[in-house]
């Protein structure tokens, strides 16, 4: 159960192992009650940031057939395992008669996919930041050359020198330069 469809299908693909069958991939808990009754899953894998976890847990209380939280906290050896899963943003529920090793295998797969997604997101954030920086640098260059009457190459050298002197990134320097120049610049005619 995950509202991120792409991530959910990646997890489902990873779980296509012998002996495992994906019964259903659903985005939210609406319809969960029906699914649980119809399909009687052995394991439910759910994104940690889903608001529907309390709903899922209430189902396991209402009926003994419904999966309960995977309990590995109390086991002495495995207490770190669920912690790792939580940090990766995923958790799972299991039916009573399922062997812990099999559940662990399922969570391992889900965890790997969730981590991969979070790496991907971080990379995306980094790329976005770089793009934003580049735009700032372009704007700062334009301002410097317009106000001081130098060419863009000269303006860029000025920025780079400022960055080195002040031990800042080009993006940071560009932002400061824009702030200062836009304030000091007389109203555009």
């Amino acid at each position: 159960m995950d509202d991120n469809a792409e991530r959910a299908s990646a997890v489902a693909a990873g779980l296509a192992l012998p002996g495992l069958e994906i019964i259903s991939v659903i985005p939210t808990a609406s319809g969960l009650l029906y699914q649980m009754a119809q399909q009687e899953p052995d394991v439910v894998v759910i994104a940690l940031d889903s608001p529907d976890r309390d709903v899922l847990e209430s189902l396991s209380i209402a009926s003994s057939h419904n999966p309960r939280p995977v309990v590995m906290f109390s086991g002495s050896g495995d207490s770190g395992f669920i912690g790792d899963a939580i940090r990766a943003g995923v958790t799972a529920y299991q039916a009573e008669d399922i062997q812990p090793e099999r559940v662990k295998a399922v969570i391992d797969v889900a965890m790997a996919q969730f981590s991969a997604f979070s790496d991907l997101r971080q990379e995306l954030d980094r790329t976005r930041a770089q793009l934003a920086d580049r735009k700032l640098v372009e704007k700062a260059k334009g301002l410097i050359s317009a106000i001081h009457g130098v060419d863009e190459e000269e303006a860029f050298r000025t920025l780079r020198k400022l960055a080195m002197d002040q031990n800042q990134t080009l993006g940071e320097v560009a932002r400061n330069v824009i702030a200062v120049l836009e304030k000091s610049r007389p109203e555009r005619k």
Binding site: I61, P69, I86
Partner: protein, 397 residues
């Protein structure tokens, strides 16, 4: 104020605290805004969680050091209810009351026609609910919602229905829904009513989709609502840190006991980094002037939320035993009296409350038990110790 230099050194100075989007997160938030954590040498980051299950799991896995919890949740978790057994304790209650029962506009009209007016108290609306249920006019299937299986919300909702002669197990359906989905579900007719903490009742009133029928205070005066929870192992490894944290939060609760400060708290809680909700929604309950139906004049309910007054920080074992019993009843079990007593004693650590109160020079109750249905107004337990009213609705046998 205590002399922080005399306190034992904190084992850990940087803490992560979990909370949910609720009015009664105010102590955790205001302790930060008022610099109280710093006063006790703690650097606290507040983590807003999306579900109680998440908050509990992160606490148990050590991702959170401490968290605001529903009062029954440490008991349920220590009991292993719901499949997970972990020792969770509390040495400080954060708030009393703070919940309400809201029903759809249609149902509210039916209840009003049968004399169910919230101004006359929860018993009046419960009776009207019973009359409606036993009339020819009623919907064939009624569904109510609460925010968590082991919450005061479910227990209060069940109590209210029982007082109307309705069996909460057989006559109606009670489901769990995230608080943030309740208003929408009510508007869409998926549920007929719910019991939840503020601001999710005022939200329905504000949008005109529901009307409040009973407040938590009316159902059980001054009952424990949220507690500060830590795991048993965490407490044993961080006793000094835990003490400092309780002191900071007790000072925040004391600050919040001043009605004038509540309006400030509403402004702060409304901010994007905390609840991220319009201040108009948060203000009525925090100010103690609840609007129960859109367009109506506010009703004075000064004890809708209680922080810091009436020994609100004390984790009463009497309340704990009732909550543990209700938790068992929900699971279809009966809890042995001795087992219940020892479970609550291990979970609700009144000794830890008294230790902190001593440092602040505040008086603390010498007994762990408070009565029920003995006082209709505030009363003095012992010199200098004022408790609030303790009426609780009694369902007919």
């Amino acid at each position: 104020m205590t002399d922080t230099l005399r306190l034992p050194v904190a084992e850990k100075a940087e803490l992560r605290l979990g909370y949910l989007r609720l009015n009664d997160s105010a102590p955790l938030v205001m302790a930060r805004e008022l610099g109280l954590y710093e006063r006790y040498g703690l650097a606290v980051s507040l983590e807003r969680e999306i579900s109680w299950a998440n908050l509990r799991d992160k606490l148990v896995a050590g991702e959170l050091d401490a968290a605001q919890m529903l009062a029954p949740l440490p008991l349920a978790t220590s009991m292993g209810a719901g499949g997970m057994r972990v020792e969770v304790i509390s040495g400080l209650a954060l708030s009393l009351n703070g919940n309400a029962i809201t029903v759809s506009r249609e149902l509210a009209t039916e209840l009003a026609q049968r004399g169910g007016l919230v101004a006359d108290g929860a018993q009046a609306t419960a009776r009207a609910m019973g009359d409606y249920f036993h009339s020819a006019a009623r919907k064939p299937e009624l569904t109510f919602a609460a925010a968590h299986s082991f919450s005061c919300h479910i227990f209060l909702l069940r109590l209210w229905l029982q007082c109307g002669g309705i069996d909460p197990e057989r006559d109606v359906r009670i489901i769990v829904l995230p608080p943030e989905q309740m208003v929408d579900s009510l508007a869409r007719g998926i549920i007929d009513g719910y019991c939840v903490g503020e601001p999710w009742n005022s939200m329905a009133v504000h949008q005109g989709v529901g009307a409040i029928q009973a407040t938590g205070y009316q159902l059980w005066n001054n009952s424990l609502e949220k507690v500060l929870a830590v795991t048993g192992p965490w407490h044993r490894q961080h006793t000094a840190t835990h003490l400092r944290l309780r002191l900071a939060l007790m000072e925040a609760c004391r600050w919040l006991s001043d009605p004038a400060h509540r309006l400030q708290a509403a402004e702060v809680l409304a901010r994007p980094e905390y609840l991220n909700l319009p201040v108009e929604i948060l203000r009525p309950a925090l100010a103690g002037e609840l609007v129960t139906s859109r367009g109506q004049a506010p009703m004075a309910m000064p004890d809708f939320h209680v922080f810091g007054r009436y020994q609100a920080g004390f984790p009463w074992r009497s309340d704990g035993e009732w909550l543990a019993d209700q938790t068992s009843a929900l699971l279809g079990k009966t809890l042995d009296t001795e087992r219940c007593k020892s479970l609550v004693q291990q979970t609700y650590r009144t000794d830890l409350y008294r230790e902190a109160a001593r440092h602040l020079g505040m008086p603390a109750p010498a007994t762990d038990y408070r009565p029920v249905n003995a006082h209709e107004g505030s009363w003095e337990l012992s010199p200098g110790i004022l408790l609030g009213a303790d009426q609780r609705l009694v369902p007919p046998q």
